[in-house]
Symmetry: C2
Subunit: 392 residues, 2 copies
């Protein structure tokens, strides 16, 4: 039944890498709730993370175990490489239950059945969809268990990408390029923001060259006008106006792998100040890309950007990038390495980052981003897209 | 700055209803983390729920307080009705921090500043985005506080909709109708699933009659062929084939208010069995809609469906509907009342539900849904769309 997205051997390597990290921390099992981590270990893919679900990996066992809602067990059969006995599902009366029933009661039974209920169990304490209640409920069900916080354990196993993963990210980059062209073309004075968003969405899912795109983990973001300083607002009925700077941030998605891309356009004749700012951003991002290669730290990459823009008396405080790839809403970031001061993560071959620096003036902002792959020779950007200010 | 989506008086009524529920439980404050609840109380709207954020409402204070990332404070200024002093933001080194810094440390300081750090504080223990770590971290920062689980406190305040909310839901229903027409038209033998998904997405955001649509909280779902038994898988590169049943479930969205709609189509000549099943589903949903009126319980509505389909020897175990309206990914449901056995919630005027019953055979499923508004006279469906099996 399983979709042929990765070879079985790739899942075996992922499990092995995860178990190594578990052994280092003397764990008997980990409960993996982050949908991206669940997918990474089991292949599971479905819009079902609005109910409680998890993948359990034991230190000694064989396959991981998928735990979810009965209605989604067929989805697990269709998308995972797991055998029937390792797909365990709870009945619908556990969902938003008026009775005192919680999916974690069922998960606790699964852990007991796997004989780890008295052991050291890792929980993704700060992962999306693992709620406070999940934690307290597991605790009251498993009084003998010792819990450890393993929030980023699987995430860190994900940072170096396989050839197959890179292939999907490159396919996603082709989609990002198409969608960026569509978005830049759609924006103009008098066009409502939602029309540009619809055009971008259509392109993101229509895909390119005979394959479609998945839903991206973050919707296309298009802050415009004086809202370029509000990076996470989404589109409205407002019409673009002459004089609006517009930042487009989007990502194609292929088998849940992303390749984000941001560019800035200007409706009408751009003032000299915004053109100069765009030049600084381009010079800064190129310096940072030049600095990125195996053996260099994340903070050294950020310093290349910072030193470059400092020549123009510009400062920026936020991080300028992060490790990413596989993802589900609400985020395509991995929450591991960040390109910012204080992050000493050493770049290694086959890591992938989204570098998204920007500079904000009083009433406009300019962002230009690249997703890059760390190769033996340095940073290779996945998309090929002109790196400059556009006009609409 | 605030978008003119609701009058100030509407927010005042919402705060008042929430405070009444707080007083009943003797709470000094609630920390509201569910993005839909944050929006309900403050108006806040942004794709920023991938970092920790909250709205704090105190029993005695005036306005609620928005707490989020510095980068999103401008978004709060643009979308909420709150005054500047009630927009509190933490610096970027709290985000996926390599240091021992967590946004809940900042939130704890805000609670102390509001003088409720030694009081009874409600936490949405089982809400999306309120993680286990958020809970333990708040606990260690606030040793004097007494925490209460207030997971659905604001959700229950949301069940009866105002005239303005209903207006947005009706606008969303117009979009749902357009998108359903587009989806039914797009599906056919040889068409890849992603092409139909792209067409539906385009229609959902392009909107209708001069207004656009927001991103829906759940992507369009189109289980087809033998996957109609896997309701939460999303589209692939597969082409629809002659003989495929296809279920389309989608929702238009307007200012974050939804009006979901599901229909089933068949590629080619439908076999008699699926036509009969569709007739049973239609008869069942109509019986349930007829039963819905103020004073009737949710379980009585479900019973009308169950009794109808029992005449045809069909049984179904899952719930057939739920209260909904305002929402953010991953869900548009409110997690309050469900239309299922055991739910004694009494219907009241201006509640809104998505009723989505379905029947599955061995190799196909049929779902037909309606979003309805409880009026003095009974159930009024928000969309007007033929209630039958379609063919492609």
């Amino acid at each position: 039944m399983q979709r042929d997205i990765f070879e079985a051997s790739e899942y075996e390597r992922r499990i092995e890498r995860t178990r190594e990290r578990m052994h280092e921390r003397d764990l008997d099992a980990v409960v993996v709730s982050d949908p991206a981590n669940m997918n990474y270990l089991s292949g599971y893919d479905g819009w079902s993370f609005y109910v409680h679900q998890a993948v359990v990996l034991t230190a000694e066992g064989d396959e991981p175990v998928w735990v979810g809602r009965e209605m989604d067990a067929n989805g697990a059969r269709a998308t995972t490489w797991l055998s029937e006995e390792n797909i365990r599902s709870y009945s619908d009366d556990h969902v938003h239950s008026p009775h005192d029933l919680h999916p974690m009661d069922f998960l606790a039974d699964v852990l007991a059945d796997l004989d780890v209920d008295g052991g050291r169990i890792g929980l993704e304490m700060d992962a999306y969809y693992f709620t406070a209640k999940s934690y307290t409920r597991l605790g009251s069900n498993l009084p003998e268990a010792e819990f450890e916080d393993t929030t980023l354990l699987v995430n860190w196993a994900r940072v170096k990408k396989s050839e197959r993963e890179l292939e999907y990210m490159r396919e996603a980059a082709r989609i990002s390029e198409e969608a960026m062209v569509a978005g830049l073309d759609a924006i103009g004075a008098g066009v409502p923001e939602y029309e540009a968003a619809a055009t971008i969405y259509d392109a993101l899912i229509t895909g390119t060259d005979g394959y479609g795109g998945d839903y991206p983990s973050i919707v296309p973001l298009m802050p415009s006008g004086d809202h370029t300083g509000t990076p996470h607002l989404t589109w409205t009925d407002r019409e673009f106006e002459d004089g609006d700077p517009v930042i487009i941030e989007l990502s194609g998605c292929r088998h849940r792998y992303h390749s984000p891309l941001a560019r800035t356009t200007f409706v009408g004749d751009p003032p000299a100040e915004i053109e100069r700012t765009a030049d600084v951003v381009v010079e800064g991002i190129e310096a940072a890309l030049d600095a990125a290669e195996p053996g260099v730290t994340c903070e050294a990459v950020e310093k290349a950007w910072r030193d470059t823009i400092a020549k123009y008396d510009v400062e920026k405080e936020d991080r300028i990038g992060y490790s990413m790839g596989l993802g589900y809403p609400p985020d395509w970031g991995e929450h591991t390495a960040s390109i910012r001061p204080g992050d000493g993560t050493v770049l290694e071959e086959d890591m992938t980052f989204h570098m998204i620096p920007g500079i904000w003036g009083d009433d406009f902002g300019v962002e230009i981003s690249e997703t890059f792959h760390v190769t033996a020779d340095g940073a290779e950007t996945l998309a090929e897209f002109p790196r400059r200010l556009f006009t609409a």
